[in-house]
């Protein structure tokens, strides 16, 4: 698998390149060493199979065919006519957004549209999954999914966002299996240089047991046990108060420890503290040890008094118990035997690609809220398990389906189709991050910067250029140049911290931001190599229209749209030409076609 080889070299080359700093820093060396080790092990475990060949080798029909069968059988039952397949341009924009988080640059779009090969869609999917941009994007997606933009009450008492994103990006670059990633997130106490940044999951929630219990249930098992905190849930018979407190018991002994000297914030844990609960309805009481929903209680081992603590609690000291319930959570939860563990993640990955889950909302899977396609959901979970939780492989299969590749144009005479039939591509908002990055891409500023960075690397490091250029680390640094701009734009479009991304809900302050903030004027300065600069140099309005549409919408304009551009620029005095072009571009950037993933 190409991604893996690169990750290995990633580590070695990075060490070579930043040699002096790194060799002296044992932490960083250890980090890279371990990543390499993990990568190698993973490589060994999964064998030399490319993601796509997996199903062939196992002599099973490809998953994407089975998915389409399930979805299309549903239409037959309902006598439903689906949308046609997406055009190349629709597919191109969508798959770039879903797998890399950014619309394609104009030249890439042109090349793809002009490619006659019948295999070009599958080839593009593979190319994108293998790109460094995939890892950068998945890290952003997972950050938002797992932390929901929460901020620790004391901001500085958290893992710096950059370290957490590095952890996630490297994880996706090596295609770390989902169970392994969850294990690392739930097991860490923040001390390990490699997995320590994963403590951001705990720290963003101030290590509060109620919040952690709820979010472990919601995000890793797909069940929101919040109401079961006070009583068995009468509406969702499968949500029991004992389930809530079973998870609670894994995290109830945790607390936050801020080391004033190193400025690091870590997790402390106690060796005692039992969990009891009382139903507010029936008054019945319970007591529980750690237990996952549907699983068995895990008894604490009997330890001699002196074994109870590795580090005993004291003022200014991080207590470490001899037996950690947190480690148990990390080891016990991410397993196929845990009810909901596989179902939750395949449902979430499905939603990432298809706009909504088979179970919706994503965190309310229970008997009275069944999946739209129960058999398909089980099949996905089963296959994901036999793929050893290979995220890339599952996303690849999803992207290959006809279901993913439907047009957003409704079939003739239809005004609406129930979204849970997956018969037409949904119109969904670009995430705040997708929007911010895509504005940079459309304006041409991203390409200009990446080209410069690329040239610099080529001249500074010609020998290892080819490899370095493909590493997540180099790319992350290159993209981070826009980190601050992206964050400030994304903040305007983000939901309140602690809420999942909801349905598209455009607000007036967002419109005002696009209309009157300096974001678009700055992006559309006619600097060398940017979109406006390129358009100004186009002699014919027809060519200009084509470049503009490829840059913004990843498609070519139709006759009417070309005529509109021609009309708009007709008779414009030379000194007004830049402004007239800017009007066209900014109008298009404010359009629904740009704002939506369709």
């Amino acid at each position: 698998m190409a991604g893996l080889t690169l990750t290995k070299t990633d580590a070695q080359l990075w060490r070579y390149r930043k040699g002096n700093q790194f060799v002296n820093s044992s932490d960083v060396c250890r980090r890279f060493g371990l990543i390499t080790l993990t990568a190698c092990l993973w490589f060994y475990v999964t064998g030399v199979l490319g993601a796509g060949e997996e199903s062939v080798v196992r002599n099973e029909r490809p998953l994407h065919e089975l998915i389409d069968e399930h979805i299309e059988a549903g239409w037959k039952e309902d006598n439903l006519r689906p949308a046609v397949l997406a055009s190349d341009a629709e597919f191109l924009r969508r798959v770039f957004l879903d797998l890399t988080g950014i619309i394609p640059a104009a030249d890439i779009a042109r090349k793809f549209l002009d490619d006659d090969s019948p295999e070009k869609r599958a080839r593009l999917i593979d190319r994108l999954l293998d790109s460094p941009e995939y890892s950068l994007h998945m890290a952003r997606v997972m950050d938002v999914m797992l932390n929901e933009r929460r901020i620790a009450t004391i901001r500085s008492y958290n893992v710096p966002s950059s370290e957490w994103l590095d952890f996630l990006t490297s994880s996706f670059a090596e295609n770390k299996p989902w169970d392994q990633l969850v294990l690392e997130i739930l097991s860490t106490d923040g001390t390990d240089p490699v997995t320590g940044p994963a403590a951001r999951f705990y720290l963003s929630r101030d290590v509060k047991p109620d919040l952690l219990t709820r979010d472990v249930g919601r995000l890793f098992l797909g069940v929101d046990l919040q109401c079961a905190q006070c009583h068995d849930d009468p509406r969702y018979v499968d949500y029991k108060q004992a389930d809530y407190f079973g998870i609670y018991a894994f995290v109830s002994r945790l607390s936050l420890f801020h080391d004033k000297d190193t400025k690091q914030t870590l997790l402390a844990e106690k060796a005692e503290g039992n969990v009891t609960f009382t139903s507010v309805f029936t008054g019945s009481k319970g007591e529980t040890n750690p237990r996952l929903p549907g699983g068995v209680m895990i008894p604490d081992p009997d330890l001699e008094k002196e074994q109870q603590y590795k580090v005993a609690p004291a003022s200014g000291v991080r207590s470490v118990p001899g037996y950690s319930r947190r480690l148990q959570l990390g080891q016990q939860l991410p397993r196929r035997e845990t009810a909901g563990f596989s179902l939750n993640i395949v449902n979430r990955l499905w939603a990432q690609m298809l706009g909504r889950g088979l179970v919706e909302p994503l965190d309310l899977r229970h008997a009275k809220n069944p999946p739209s396609h129960p058999e398909l959901l089980s099949l996905l979970a089963q296959r994901f398990e036999s793929l050893d939780y290979n995220i890339k492989a599952l996303l690849r299969e999803l992207a290959l389906t006809r279901t993913y590749q439907r047009s957003s144009l409704l079939p003739e005479n239809a005004t609406t189709i129930s979204p849970n039939r997956f018969a037409v591509a949904p119109l969904r908002a670009l995430s705040p991050e997708q929007l911010a990055w895509s504005l940079l891409q459309a304006s041409g500023r991203l390409s200009v910067h990446l080209k410069e960075a690329d040239q610099r690397l080529k001249s500074e490091d010609p020998k290892y250029y080819d490899i370095l250029r493909r590493t997540w680390k180099w790319n992350k640094e290159a993209y981070d140049r826009f980190g601050r701009d992206v964050n400030s734009v994304a903040a305007v479009f983000a939901v309140m911290p602690g809420n999942p991304e909801g349905a598209f809900s455009p607000t007036v302050d967002q419109a005002l931001f696009l209309l009157n903030s300096d974001t678009l004027p700055v992006a559309l300065k006619p600097d060398a190599g940017t979109l406006i600069d390129g358009l100004v140099k186009e002699q014919s309005s027809d060519d200009l229209a084509e470049v503009m549409f490829l840059s913004i919408f990843s498609r070519r304009p139709d006759e009417k749209e070309i005529a509109e551009v021609r009309d708009h620029l007709h008779d414009v005095p030379a000194e007004m030409r830049v402004e007239a072009i800017r009007q066209l571009v900014s109008g298009k950037l404010m359009s629904a076609e740009f704002r939506l993933n369709h």
Partner: protein, 423 residues
């Protein structure tokens, strides 16, 4: 009265996604062509004004004085326009308008935490995720054709801004408060000088044509909702003077008081009169862990004059009839006076007040014991208050948010409105 439990069976968010389905397309495309709201129509609309005493005011120094007891502190109680009823001497002007108010002296929320209190008092729930009063009312009072934001909150900038917590919850960003901080209007209301008027309209025409083409053959809701947000922006830009306090007469500015709270209350009046349905004014710094009595002298003197002016002014202008005014903090303060002459966080026996639309005038509801350490009559929890406020606004708190076939009652099913407080 029945004691309440923290969570109850219908407090379940079924679908955050689908809830907007019914409302997002409510604004017609031709919104700009219509007058904002006819005056007559607007006069009949119910409105909400929340005066939030952030940090937690002491009930002893305000609505429920206990002079001469060991918990009562140094201040006297004074008689009010309501025969037989006394309040703290720090509220002399308020004493003169007691006959217009309904005061609850028996609030027991058992919450002694700023963050939870801010959320819980406003949402009527302890479980997170629900919309606060301002957002809920904005959604429920909304009518087709409304273009201005439904909910605006006014506050000072500062580190203790616990107040903007949660807000719209599962109702989504559309019902989040538009935040006016330090009297600054929302960002980006003015077209920058670098963008000419002709550029502005050219851009707009290009955007509209692009959307028309894109709409053809596609499901309309998202595309129209996005277009509507630009229509709303255009209206707000045109009417940005609704945020401009200088447009109010100087005499009113003086009457309302030359401090943040006074200015924010006058701005609230201006916004409510301009067609914003729900406004929250945050009055800061009630969290008096030290020097409680000194602090309350200061805080009450700001609050008292402005509040009495506002109530009388709203009554004179005919606004009071249609505007529910709620005065509350996130909690009260301890009976015990600590060794720094402060009072600490306390949720077990405290007071709040309301007036206006749908509220009985001149009522004091509930009672605490002699030294104010517990409620002895008419105990009231979050849910009761929330039900009462919604009912006063002519809304049905036992109704449901319309979400994907699920049941999600607007007010907690474990509580009901307090009839004695309702007109």
């Amino acid at each position: 009265m029945k004691r309440l439990t923290a969570c109850n069976q219908s407090e379940h968010v079924v679908s955050r996604r689908s809830i907007l389905a019914g409302t997002i397309g409510a604004l017609g495309a031709g919104v700009l062509g219509q007058p904002l709201l006819s005056e007559e129509l607007h006069a009949r609309r119910k409105r909400l004004l929340i005066l939030f005493q952030s940090g937690g005011a002491s009930q002893f120094e305000t609505w429920d004085p206990k002079p001469g007891t060991k918990t009562g502190g140094p201040f006297r109680a004074i008689s009010t326009s309501l025969p037989g009823v006394h309040i703290g001497e720090l509220l002399p002007h308020t004493a003169g308008i007691m006959h217009r108010l309904a005061v609850v002296r028996s609030v027991n929320t058992r919450i002694a935490d700023h963050f939870l209190g801010h959320y819980a008092l406003q949402s009527g729930r302890r479980v997170p995720g629900y919309p606060v009063l301002g957002s809920a009312a904005a959604r429920l009072l909304e009518q087709p054709g409304d273009v201005l934001p439904g909910y605006v909150s006014l506050r000072r900038d500062g580190p203790k801004a616990f107040t903007d917590i949660g807000d719209a919850g599962f109702l989504g960003p559309k019902y989040e408060a538009v935040k006016i901080i330090n009297g600054q209007p929302p960002a980006n209301l003015v077209r920058p000088a670098a963008i000419s008027e002709s550029t502005e309209s050219a851009r707009d025409a290009i955007r509209r044509r692009s959307d028309e083409r894109f709409l053809s053959g596609r499901s309309a809701r998202s595309i129209q909702a996005y277009g509507n947000s630009f229509d709303q922006a255009a209206v707000l830009m045109k009417r940005r003077d609704i945020f401009d306090l200088n447009k109010e007469p100087a005499a009113d500015r003086e009457r309302y008081g030359d401090h943040d709270f006074g200015r924010h209350c006058l701005l609230a009046r201006r916004l409510l009169e301009s067609g914003i349905n729900c406004v929250k004014v945050v009055h800061h710094d009630w969290d008096a862990h030290e020097e409680n009595f000194h602090w309350h002298q200061q805080r009450c003197s700001e609050f008292d004059g402005t509040f009495a002016t506002l109530i009388n002014d709203f009554a004179d202008r005919g606004l009071l009839e249609d505007t529910l005014i709620v005065v509350t903090g996130e909690m009260g303060r301890t009976p015990r006076i600590n060794n720094r002459a402060g009072r600490d966080h306390w949720g077990n026996a405290w007071s709040m007040a309301m007036a206006g639309c749908g509220i009985e005038q001149g009522v004091v509801y509930g009672k605490t014991n002699e030294d104010g350490t517990s409620v002895v009559d008419g105990e009231v929890d979050l849910g009761h208050l929330f039900h009462t406020w919604l009912t006063a606004l002519g809304l049905d708190p036992t109704g449901h948010y319309d979400i994907g076939g699920g049941e999600n009652q607007i007010g907690t099913p474990a509580a009901s409105a307090i009839k004695e407080l309702l007109a």
